[in-house]
């Protein structure tokens, strides 16, 4: 497949993420599909950070493998990333800052000096302006018109006219220099035209999905990589009449969301594994009080503080077992930005319909990296339905039962404020009316039986959830040499790998488990039994989805590709595994 990748590297504080975002927009504004990967560290200044923008006429799902233009702000960037350059690639650097020794320049690639600081000084004493010159040079090498860069910068600095003029001046000098001295590289793609693609992070897709689903209350405590959900919703709180509450900790965040939901509004909290650990007890509270709740769990490398800025799918076991006792829960794990948008909306529907917590599992890779989507993939035309049956107000004499035993396990839900329907939602085991049966009634024969009935009532919801949700799909050809099996963001690199394999004439398909719980056991078992060579692909050490599948279906997936180094999956890693298991290369 034809693609082009621009990579920028430097120290934190050098503006690498901004450069990377501009690189992305150079292409998305021209109708390309783009993926932007931000490789950063848990520091504010210094260290080494890099950003890769990959673009293609066809959908690019991940950061891909290798790069074509490397914009290096320091020597460390060359040392770390030059090896990723593909044939015909170019290193853009400023000799005033550092030299690039020839032994660091891979065969078939070039080091291209651009006097970015000198260009910048013509407009401003601020060194950061060198990035404008650098971006200009990179745009020329990538074959992108200067007008696109001008337009992106104009939008970025709309409110800062002086800075915009400086940027436009410096970028033009960089652009003209590169065009004159080097010209577009061989892998430059012809400009496509057509509507701009939208560029957004997985977290923005989730925030947008939540707002469109009727979210009214978000309580959150900052934690990478979930934080930007709060940022986006806080920015738009006034537009959408959403109350965004930064809580004192995750214990408060989830309990606030439960309180708001109990009071009748759609509520959500979002966190990463560490914060979710603190939320665990309250997850069971939502299950026991049958309060709808959406919790976003954006995973990062663990255990403990782990690698705060690196990705992993290590929390599935925790999400499956979080909180004492047993109660129905749903875990959704979308495999793209637009799937995250849809899954968020679905989370609210399921939480409300089944009055139970829904976990929306993502990871740093999906949540923070930039994905391009078509407008049609984010349909906002949606009236949040009221999915719960509100009992009629009464004078209190009809004995409203908040936890009425029903065949579905779902009971009519009153909202505080309704006359005559007063009830207590209790974390203790309770009877149909909500009266606790944990103290003077516990162990009395009638209440032993009632406890059993209440437990069965709640757990019955799981059957309804399985029936109300779609089983996973097999992506790719129906007949395949190898069937990859994974969940969540794994789909991204897998889809790129499948295309690379297709180009080599190797048919591969993917069992994309976007709802790990409750699992659609029968269809999954059927697909796995029909698979010629199933391979489990997960971003954790032990193959947590594989364990779940074995527990639920009895089918073991002994062939695994497991990644737990904190870096995203690269398509070539999956390609390599497929070549190995299909006997094309020795293992």
């Amino acid at each position: 497949m034809k693609d082009i990748s621009l990579r920028a590297g430097g120290a934190a504080g050098d503006g690498i993420a901004s450069v990377g975002e501009v690189f992305c927009r150079l292409f998305s504004r021209n109708g390309f599909y783009v993926f932007g990967h931000n490789g950063y560290q848990s520091v504010i200044r210094g260290g080494h950070v890099w950003f890769q923008a990959r673009a293609g006429h066809d959908r690019v799902w991940s950061q891909g493998d290798g790069c074509d233009i490397l914009y290096a702000l320091d020597r460390a960037t060359v040392e770390v990333h030059a090896r990723a350059l593909r044939e015909g690639g170019v290193i853009v650097y400023d000799p005033e800052k550092f030299q690039v020794p020839s032994e660091l320049v891979p065969a078939g690639t070039k080091a291209f000096p651009v006097p970015t600081l000198e260009f910048a000084r013509k407009f401003s004493p601020q060194a950061i302006l060198q990035n404008a010159a650098g971006m200009g040079a990179c745009a020329a090498l990538a074959g992108v018109p200067l007008a696109t860069l001008d337009q992106v910068l104009t939008d970025q600095f709309r409110k800062k006219k002086d800075i915009l003029e400086q940027n436009l001046g410096a970028s033009k000098l960089g652009y003209e220099h590169a065009q004159r001295e080097m010209g577009a590289i061989g892998r430059a793609l012809p400009m496509k035209g057509g509507a701009s693609k939208l560029l957004l992070s997985g977290n923005q897709a989730i925030a947008l999905g939540a707002a469109s689903a009727g979210l009214k209350f978000l309580a959150q405590y900052p934690m990478t990589p979930a934080t930007s959900i709060m940022h986006w919703l806080a920015d738009h709180a006034v537009d959408f009449d959403i109350l965004v509450k930064q809580a004192e900790d995750e214990l408060a965040a989830i309990n606030m969301a439960i309180g708001a939901s109990y009071a009748g509004v759609r509520a959500m909290t979002a966190t990463s594994g560490g914060g979710f650990s603190l939320m665990v007890e309250a997850l069971g509270l939502a299950g026991m009080t049958e309060t709808p709740l959406v919790v976003v769990e954006a995973q990062r490398s663990g255990p403990s503080t782990g690698l705060p800025t690196k990705t992993e799918q290590g929390d599935l076991n925790m999400m499956l077992g979080a909180s004492q006792g047993e109660f129905p829960r749903v875990i959704l794990a979308p495999g793209s930005a637009s799937a995250a948008f849809r899954a968020t909306r679905r989370s609210f529907e399921l939480a409300e319909e089944f009055q139970t917590p829904v976990l929306l599992a993502t990871d740093l890779f999906l949540s923070e990296d930039l994905h391009s989507v078509d407008r049609e993939e984010l349909p906002l035309d949606y009236d949040p339905p009221s999915l719960f049956q509100v009992p009629e107000p009464t004078d209190g004499s009809n004995g409203y039962k908040r936890y009425l035993l029903t065949p579905s396990g779902v009971s009519p839900r009153a909202i505080p404020g309704q006359k005559g329907l007063n009830f207590v939602a209790g974390s203790d085991e309770h009877d149909e009316s909500g009266h606790l049966i944990s103290d003077v009634n516990a162990g009395i024969p009638m209440f032993i039986e009632l406890r059993k009935k209440m437990m069965e009532k709640r757990m019955r919801k799981l059957q309804g959830i399985v029936q109300a949700t779609a089983p996973p799909k097999l992506e790719g050809p129906a007949k395949a040499e190898v069937t990859l099996v994974g969940w969540g963001s794994t789909a991204l690199a897998v889809r790129d790998a499948m295309r690379l394999l297709e180009e080599r004439g190797i048919a591969v398909n993917y069992l994309n488990v976007e709802q790990p719980y409750p699992l659609h056991t029968e269809p999954i078992a059927r697909m796995l039994k029909e698979a010629k060579r199933p391979v489990l692909v997960e971003q954790n050490f032990s193959g947590q989805l594989g364990r779940l599948i074995r527990a639920e279906t009895g089918i073991d997936l002994p062939v695994k590709l497991l990644k737990y180094d904190g870096e995203p999956l690269y398509p070539w890693e999956i390609v390599g595994k497929v070549l190995e298991v299909s006997g094309r290369v020795a293992s």
């Binding site: 009214k216 006034v238 009449d241 309990n255 109990y262 404020g417 009830f423 974390s427």
Partner: protein, 297 residues
Amino acid sequence: MSLASAPPKTAGPALKVVYKSQTKPTWCPGCGDYGVVASVERAVASLQIPPHEVMVVSGIGCSSNLPHFLSSYGFHGLHGRAMPVAEGARLANHGMHVIVTGGDGDGWGIGLGHALHAMRRNLDLTYVVMDNEIYGLTTGQASPTSTLGQKTKSTPLGVIEEPVNPIALALAAGATYVARGFSGDPKHLSDLIAGGLKHRGFALVDVFSPCVTYNHLNTFDFFRQRVYKLENAGHDTGDLVKAFARAQEFGPKIPTGLFYRVDRPTYEDLEPALKAGPLLHQRAGIRGKDKVLDEFI
């Protein structure tokens, strides 16, 4: 749906307000908490607030069972987490009166952080703490307010930690109505709770509510011999420094009554999302749908 939509704090024609629940309290005979639940009932009834416009939120502990013994809406949550549930519920529908109830372990131990943050936010909540200076439901361990030297099951040689001072903490944290009652004087206590309900902002009513089973030091007699009323002592409830000074008194004389009250904008006043009324009644979803996606170009 008929849902409370505006703070119904206005006086109307007298209602016969019944707060008695069919559920009988399960507290030990003689427990201080009986006086507290009776005072809460009396307070809401005196203000003519109908039961369906009240939410009582509690945590875990003997006293946290209180919502079951009233006929209002209730949420009986987790140990130490009553406050954030109440905050979320109040922010979702600030047309409701929200009362938070619990004990000293729940509020001044495991839930202390939440209490302090709720105070500084000045949410319009009324927090009634039944302080018995002991852990009762877990059968008699030291609590954060147990007296220095007090022997309990977890401190057989005596407590060696300075007790938490709830009144001083609340004053420091920015609570705008800070009071202390005694369950042995339910009339006074219900006046303090009613005052808290009428107050716009965070109201703390810390209550000496003796545990007759596990605390043989802080008994009804102990308090009866020591408590006095600030309103009879010429205390200026608008003076924060004097309130702090009174909060340090815990010896032969122990003050009850209102320590401090100040008018300050509530969180609800300042929160832009609540300008259009309770969140519950606002429309949900995205407006200006065409333009929303433009920022992603």
